[in-house]
């Protein structure tokens, strides 16, 4: 099992390294000088020279590449020339609200998906049809439109929650729900299908014959099996949540990485966007690696191989 864990870790390191390399190559493959690309929409005397000095643009390409790798390894993503601040500060100061939103959205999504699957898997035709219809609708609804609808219903009409901003727990209810529902729709689809397959397994009959109640069978025995295929989706889910958080923040006017990134995209502030994208990729890779290892620990069948 250890060899599997180690090889999984190595693969992830390779992917993380490759994504940094891809970013470096993309920068150099673009038409135009790197100085102009990194400067964004900014123009003042001495700027290009300063950038050239910071990025060591007078040195050979391999030396620049090595320098780039080392700096990212140290957590240094360079300077945003548009904001005139180190990128780490720009991103770091806005990280928390987004992480909060993504985490809460993710937890909500998992809870909703598990509840839907527990209640409807293998039940009568009508409840399954309703559930799969709901899942389809959730999965097909754009995050931002869902946000707009929730805003209209709960903020403008019912006035239960504030319209925008990020103060107090009330302000995170609608954004996290917005983020959670589409993800929950997709997750519930997978979970329900896996549960229905598991419910047909002989061990379920055995458990049932011991007189265990239906809900306990589902929650304690079937769900554990069904969670495994869903766990493989974990990495994808986290990536989707981070991307979705950016859009959700825009809908609700919440501060966070979304505002920073969007602003950076519009002013061509490449260092900031690059840092956010790489950070998201690292989080994604780390999370899916962790989940895969967890998978090995949970499922004894995989360990034996």
């Amino acid at each position: 099992m250890w060899s599997r864990i180690i090889s999984r870790l190595l693969t992830s390191l390779v992917v993380a390294w490759a994504s940094v390399t891809a970013a470096f190559l993309a920068l150099h493959a673009l038409p135009g000088r790197i100085q102009d690309i990194l400067a964004g929409d900014l123009e003042y005397p001495g700027l290009r020279e300063a950038i050239a000095a910071e990025w060591g643009l007078d040195r050979s390409l391999p030396a620049q590449y090595l320098d780039f790798l080392l700096r990212i390894l140290q957590g240094d993503f360079g300077t945003s020339y548009v904001l005139r601040q180190p990128v780490t500060e720009v991103v770091g100061s806005q990280l928390m609200p987004t992480v909060q939103l993504a985490l809460l959205g993710g937890i909500l999504a998992v809870i909703i998906a598990i509840a839907l699957a527990l209640l409807t898997a293998g039940r009568g035709r009508i409840s399954r049809q309703i559930a799969s219809f709901l899942e389809l609708v959730f999965a097909s609804t754009p995050v931002f439109w869902l946000g707009i609808l929730l805003l209209m219903a709960f903020s403008f009409t019912l006035r239960w929650f504030p319209v925008s901003g990020a103060s107090g727990w009330q302000s995170i209810v609608l954004p996290s729900l917005t983020l959670a529902l589409p993800t929950a729709g997709l997750l519930a689809q997978v979970l329900r299908e896996a549960m229905e397959k598991t419910l047909d397994q002989p061990f379920v009959t055995t458990v049932r014959s011991r007189g265990v109640g239906e809900l306990v069978i589902r929650a304690r025995h079937v769900l554990r099996h069904a969670l495994l295929p869903a766990v493989t989706l974990g990495g994808w889910l986290i990536g989707g949540l981070l991307g979705g958080a950016v859009i959700t923040e825009k809908v609700f006017g919440r501060p966070g990485l979304g505002t920073v990134t969007l602003g950076a995209v519009l002013t061509h502030d490449v260092p900031v966007v690059l840092a956010v994208v790489l950070l998201a990729a690292f989080i994604h890779v780390a999370a899916s690696t962790l989940l895969d290892i967890l998978y090995l620990l949970i499922d004894p069948r995989l360990r034996a191989q």
């Binding site: 992917v15 899942e135 389809l136 754009p142 997709l186």
Partner: protein, 304 residues
């Protein structure tokens, strides 16, 4: 917004258990295969909806007399009525006319993005599906790297480099979608590669290229329309998200995402500009998903 691999459940079947009851004998004629599926109400409605959508994209003026760009300020923010089915927006433009005219943009950008994903996905997927271990590892790592970036953020990076615009968000979404198509094509290539008829062709003494062009390639490409229909909905979702962020077409273009972004300012007083374009996106995605799943179901088990 999820550009990444999306789990597919057989919703068409879940929605209509009459289709393919367990143990049913496969009908023999093509008509017999198609007929019961067309009876499935969800699928029939989806196909009809997509047909209307195509018509709206091709001939928007046949659907509405109003201009999508010019409005009457005096008629701003009127609720839906018989004259203005979806009401009017802040500038007095007819929301129905804008939604109809928006069909073209959403479908075109979505299809464009998909074409890019498919082109790269097919080439890389076929390379990865060859017997060469090194080629497979290298290409698969490329897919891993591409899919390690969350779709929206990768697309935002591409837009930072290329600038805003319709073509550029198509490229952005297209790049983000490459690994998804590439992996399916890789699996399909491996299946075909190991199929009996390829072995027969080898025994028969055909050359490598001849086998590839005449036997492998056509059978790999069969899968393309199936994957394309299943994923087009996702591509449209991704595109609308980027337009909502203001990275794609710019106002006053009547694109659905752009319209919803504009509606954000008037939500307090008017619900209609914020409802109908979103409904259009969601219904389009649902329709494509249902049709895609039905096609996938029909091809299941006979792709290789």
């Amino acid at each position: 917004m999820n550009i990444q691999t999306r789990p597919l459940a057989d919703l068409s079947v879940a929605l209509d258990p009459q289709v393919n009851p367990p143990g049913a004998v496969e009908p023999v004629t093509t008509a017999a295969v198609i007929a019961p599926r067309l009876l499935s109400p969800g699928l029939a409605i989806s196909l009809a909806f997509l047909f209307v959508l195509l018509l709206a994209a091709a001939f928007p003026r046949a659907f509405t007399q109003f201009d999508p760009l010019i409005g009457d300020y005096a008629l701003g923010l009127k609720p839906p009525s018989w004259k203005h089915l979806f009401g009017t927006d802040r500038l007095g433009r007819d929301v129905f006319a804008r939604t109809i005219h928006g069909t073209r943009y959403s479908l075109l950008i979505g299809l464009g993005g998909m074409a890019i994903s498919l082109a790269f996905g097919i080439v890389l997927g076929i390379l990865a599906g060859q017997r060469n271990r090194f080629l497979d590892e290298a290409t698969s790592r490329v897919f891993d790297v591409l899919s390690s970036f969350p779709g929206v953020l990768l697309a935002m990076l591409v837009v930072t480099f290329l600038g805003q615009g319709m073509l550029n968000i198509a490229i952005a979404v297209g790049i983000a979608g490459i690994p998804k198509f590439g992996r399916v094509i890789r699996a399909q290539t491996q299946l075909v590669r190991d199929a009996d008829y390829v072995t027969h062709a080898v025994v028969y003494g055909l050359g490598r290229w001849q086998i590839f062009i005449r036997h492998v390639l056509p059978n790999v490409l069969v899968a393309v329309p199936v994957i394309a229909t299943v994923y087009i909905g996702n591509t449209i979702l991704a595109v609308s998200g980027l337009s909502f962020l203001g990275l794609g077409p710019q106002p006053p273009t009547p694109e659905w995402g752009v319209m919803l972004a504009e509606s954000r300012d008037v939500l307090r007083v008017a619900w209609w500009p914020g409802v109908f374009p979103g409904l259009a996106i969601t219904l389009t995605v649902i329709a494509f998903t249902l049709v895609g799943n039905a096609i996938q179901k029909r091809f299941e088990g006979r792709l290789a």
